[in-house]
Amino acid sequence: MPDPHAWASLPEQPILDVGITVLAFLAAVRLARWSGNNPFLNPTLIAIVLVVIVLNVTGITYTTYMRGAAFIQFLLAPTVVLLAVPLYRQTTLIRASGGLIAMALLVGLPTGVLSAVGIAWALGASKITLLSLAPKSVTTGIAVGISEAIGGVPALTAVLVISTGITGAIAGPAIQRWLRVEDDRVTGLAIGIAGHGIGTARALQISEVAGAFAGLGMSLNGVLTGVLLPLAMRGL
């Protein structure tokens, strides 16, 4: 005799939240592929929208969802470590591109911070929003730490970082085509510095060179912003 309440145990296990997330992403990837990888149908963005809809319809709170979805989020850190692999595969090219990499950071890092804070300030954003926005181009794990250190709201920063990554993943390849950039190192560095991990995920689809340089831009930008931004704020 099957247990008629067997389904009731699902919400108590991470399987429900992990399942919602994985199925939403699967649907998002299918949709993106069906559209011929239309850049506006970014799989991460679509999956987030789908999960938010499911949570609203079912009445599952964000806190409950995160209890299970944390298992997926945990995999983010080891995956960031694995970015060392595409970097290693491109070591020769990276060694030959020192000047390009230095220039990308010199321009991209301050532009990323100042443009966001400047625009929001000009439009009258509150101080706490400005502080939460400052590390928006940096990969989630680092950005949250910076936000905490300079007095922003870490959880708000996480959302702003994700939105930035999606924007970078959509706008990056479009700008590449518009400016007719033929060097995948340039595209990769720009997307990685402006759009961190989500941008890097997109750059990996362009080519392994673009992916490796995006990963490099993301890591160097993350490390340098993590050191420089809190120091600069202390100086102000």
Partner: protein
Amino acid sequence: MLEAIARVIVWLGLGEVLTRLGLVPVPGAVIGLVLLYLDLLWRQTLTDDLGRLADGMLALFGLLFVPAGVGVVAHADVLRAEFVPILAAILGGTVVTLLATIMSLGLVRSLARRRKQMSASSLGKADVRA
């Protein structure tokens, strides 16, 4: 495959410990990335398993950001109150950053090309710079 997973976890774990010690103001995952990269440079070999693990996980990179993005629900009130400045900062700031980076790199590349041409056509042609 187990060896590859263990290697990633060990470097990540060491990275986390170094962060907690407060020696470096950088998250454990980034220190782990640097450590694994140094490890690969040191050994000068990439095992098939580690390569496959990286390719497999990086193909799912986009999925791993979904839970944090869903946090948008938890901050709906702040986002609604300051929707315009936040949206403008994210869209405008990101596009400006992409443009500035790509254009400055275009400049570096054309300078490098000109320098190469100059040394190629060498001898007394310093006026090429103009």
